[in-house]
Amino acid sequence: MTTSTRTVSGDAGTGSGPVVVTGLGVAAPNGLGVEEYWRAALAGRSGIAPITRFDPAGYSVRIAGQLDIEPKKHLPGRLLPQTDHMTRLALIAAEEALADAGADPKEMPAHAAGVVTAASGGGFEFGQRELEALWSKGGNHVSAYQSFAWFYPVNTGQVSIRHDMRGPGSALVAEQAGGLDAISKACRNVRAGTALMLAGGVDGSLCPWSLVCMTKSGRLSNATDPDRAYLPFDAAASGHVPGEGGALLVLEARAAARERGARILGEIAGYASTFDPRPGSGREPGLRRAVELALADARITAADVDVVFADAAGVPDLDRIEAATLAAVFGPRGVPVTAPKSLTGRLLGGGASLDVASALLGLRDGVIPPTAAAVHCAYADEIDLVTGAPREARLGTALIVARGYGGFNSALVVRR
């Protein structure tokens, strides 16, 4: 092993030209659907609350960004017995994104459209229910749909089946970073000739099984006050709350999008991912390299970036690293930084995709959505954190930063 820091760049600006976003679909704890979410984000309305999906009394984590829906209102009956909650949310977001793009893959040539989603554990809630049935009642009480409903690429599968998207299909597992990695992977598919890709993450699972798995990271908040449970960059930061939801984006080559008269929300201009050195090695974390390489991939400098959507771990050591990294790359308070995820919780594979959606909506409307009002930035000398109220600004370029538990760092640049 000669190096422990591996790098993948997005190779923007080559091949078939720029890749643009022509559609968005959002499912977030503070709003289902793009515009409902965006209104909540700008108003600083939080979706973080005590868990009610199950009784969390026996668990160290009681607070989450829970998103409840009435499944029958949104999805065909045939899909209900075979889908986990997070897959239902993904199907809803996928339908919205394709409609938003004015695209119907069923009308396109056979392999012209594909799907890439970010995932973490798959359909945990569904899986827990079936495992309970197996061990309490027996094998003949387990649904045949358990064969795929729990599986982490299930969202890619269900979305591609429903919309007849027979082109490239894949799933990426890199915790939070996956929400950016999936978008970059889809850009490569577009550059390789696929006309339309649906990409991003809609993830999360609020059930005892997944909660126990997630608490093993030691990064979840044990707070019981929803307003104080996830305070990234605050001196009182004590971990994050888990949430469910995310965003899916429709991606196309710019030339093709213009040709069909599609509305263009922005360009995926650059991307990079790095991996952290071994814990305890004392070497610099991979975050700064990811940010710098993403800027280089977009062929811009730090001065060109108008806003940063932070990873915002909510864990003191990680917040300190991110604040120092942003100050080093952009200069102290050199660029506005925000963390609207403080209003949703961290959405596993969905969180960074939602940040990309927020960035694109921010570019559209010339406004930076705020970090939760309860956050008092402890790194004010290093970062200019937009908190409590939206900030109007002329925005041309945004950087989205994501770190996935286990050493993943990714950064993505979008521009108008």
Partner: protein
Amino acid sequence: MPTTTFTMDDLTRLLRECAGEDDSIDLDGDIAGTEFEDLGYDSLALFNTVNRIERDYGIRLSDEIVAEVRTPGELLAEIAEHL
């Protein structure tokens, strides 16, 4: 005479529970001769439903039944032989 009966209503009830219902299809209509595929049910949907019927009614159907029966009428006839 079998002491237990299994009717078309029982079948549609279990199809709805185990595999859901295609919103464009009326399961309460005359579906005895309609192919499962045209009712929106694939082999996995049928597998899930047959498994439930076996469990609820304490019967054992052949492993190939999902591939063999094509319509609700055929499935009802097959079940009747095992009750």
